[in-house]
Every structure is written in structure tokens, then in C-alpha cells.
């Protein structure tokens, strides 16, 4: 396979740049489960109605 170099702007494809940036990944890797699991779950628990 021939070796490719970044284009004239020195830019890699967007998705490759995302995967090459550990701090973007760190952000989404903490944000996703925090929202989808922790925050959603906590909201459900605090909205459990009072029994009589």
C-alpha cells in the first residue's frame, strides 16, 4: 500500500483527528455515561412518588 501524507493543509480527516485527541475522547467518555446513566438514573430515583 502506498503511503499517504496529509493533504496540503496538513489536515487529517475529521474523524481521525477526533480519534487522535485523547482529551476530546476523555470528555465524551465521561460525559456520555454521566448523562445517560448517572444523571438519568438519579432523576428517576428522585422522582419516585411517596407512598401513603
Amino acid at each position: 500500500m502506498s503511503e499517504q501524507q496529509p493533504d496540503e493543509n496538513g489536515k487529517e480527516p475529521l474523524m481521525q483527528r477526533v480519534l487522535d485527541n485523547p482529551f476530546i475522547l476523555l470528555f465524551v467518555g465521561v460525559a456520555f455515561p454521566s448523562v445517560l446513566y448517572l444523571v438519568w438514573g438519579i432523576m428517576e430515583i428522585v422522582s419516585v412518588p411517596l407512598g401513603q
Binding site: 499517504q4 501524507q5 487529517e12 481521525q16 419516585v48 411517596l50 407512598g51
Partner: protein
């Protein structure tokens, strides 16, 4: 280069995907859709779906409700040494079971093919409702009253024991649920 060195091709994102990978990704993606479909499908078409009906409750209030049921529907006394009341509530009614260190109280007697609103709560620590041999396992959490509709499909004596570790005598926490014709 290998998997422990940086990719030789600086623009690896633009490399074509292996055909084997494409076949496999397609297959497992579709399989994921099937599995994701099965759960909501069972909610519609299946008979075993755990209810989410839950209330915040204090242990005292929960005990009082259970006591009221026991006072009204006790039919006999269970075996020694515990001598727990055996309660036969009417079909379709609200049935209460208390989990506590280290008992299930009282003894329930249900009718086959009738549906009961079974309430579960703990008055102290966390417990695990394990009904065998029906293979029904439900977490029991203090301060939360969980209402689950159960429909026994076979008569017989079932055991309910604790399958959430709850201290030194956890392994003695067992009682009976009778299912009669």
C-alpha cells in the same frame, strides 16, 4: 509496523476496510438490532416483565400495611418455631411481604392462575427476593415499596430465600410461599 507502533500510513482513516470485517460488522450490527428489539417486544408479547411501580415508604408505614393484611386474612399458623401467620388474601388483591434481618414475613398462600399485586420492601438492609424453583429474583431495597404483579402457574410449595448478602445470618433467611389450586 505492528499494533504496538504508530500506523505507517499517516492517513489510516482513508484505508479501505477488510472484506471480512465488513461482513462481520454487518452481521453483528443486525444481531444487535435483533437483541435490542427483543426486550421491548417481550414487553408487548411476553408474560414476564418486571413492573416499575415503586413508592417511597418508611419502614413503619410498610409494616403497618402488612400488619393490616395479616390481621384480615390470616387463615392458620405456620410451622414452629417461628409460628408465622399464614395469610390467604383474596385473588387480585394487594399482598405484602416484609424482608427483614433475617426473615420473610408473613407466609403467603396464593391461588394458582390468579394475579396478585405483591408488594416488596425491606425494613432494614438490602435483601434479595429469590423465589425457587420458579427462578424469580428481585432486589428488595429499604425505603422503597416495589409493587410486582405475580401470577403463579403451578401449585406447590415454593421457597423464598435471600440472595443479597445481609449479614451474619443471611443464609438462614428463608420462608415458604404456598400456591394452591
Amino acid at each position: 509496523m505492528t499494533s504496538i507502533s504508530p500506523p505507517k500510513n499517516r492517513l489510516w482513516w482513508n484505508e479501505p476496510i477488510e472484506k471480512v470485517e465488513l461482513i462481520w460488522i454487518t452481521l453483528v450490527f443486525l444481531w444487535g438490532l435483533v437483541m435490542a428489539f427483543m426486550m421491548p417486544y417481550w414487553h408487548v408479547a411476553g408474560n414476564q416483565n418486571l413492573s416499575n411501580e415503586t413508592y417511597k415508604i418508611t419502614p413503619a408505614a410498610y409494616l403497618a400495611k402488612t400488619q393490616a393484611m395479616v390481621d384480615q386474612y390470616t387463615v392458620r399458623t405456620g410451622p414452629a418455631p417461628k409460628n408465622f401467620p399464614v395469610v390467604h388474601p383474596p385473588a387480585g388483591s394487594d399482598v405484602y411481604l416484609v424482608a427483614r434481618l433475617w426473615d420473610w414475613w408473613p407466609i403467603l398462600e396464593l391461588e394458582k392462575d390468579q394475579t396478585y399485586r405483591v408488594h416488596l420492601s425491606s425494613i432494614d438492609w438490602q435483601h434479595g427476593f429469590s423465589l425457587q424453583p420458579a427462578a424469580i429474583n428481585i432486589q428488595v431495597v429499604p425505603d422503597y415499596e416495589h409493587v410486582v404483579s405475580l401470577t403463579p402457574n403451578k401449585a406447590g410449595d415454593y421457597s423464598v430465600f435471600c440472595n443479597e448478602y445481609c449479614g451474619l445470618l443471611h443464609h438462614t433467611m428463608i420462608n415458604t410461599i404456598h400456591v394452591v389450586e
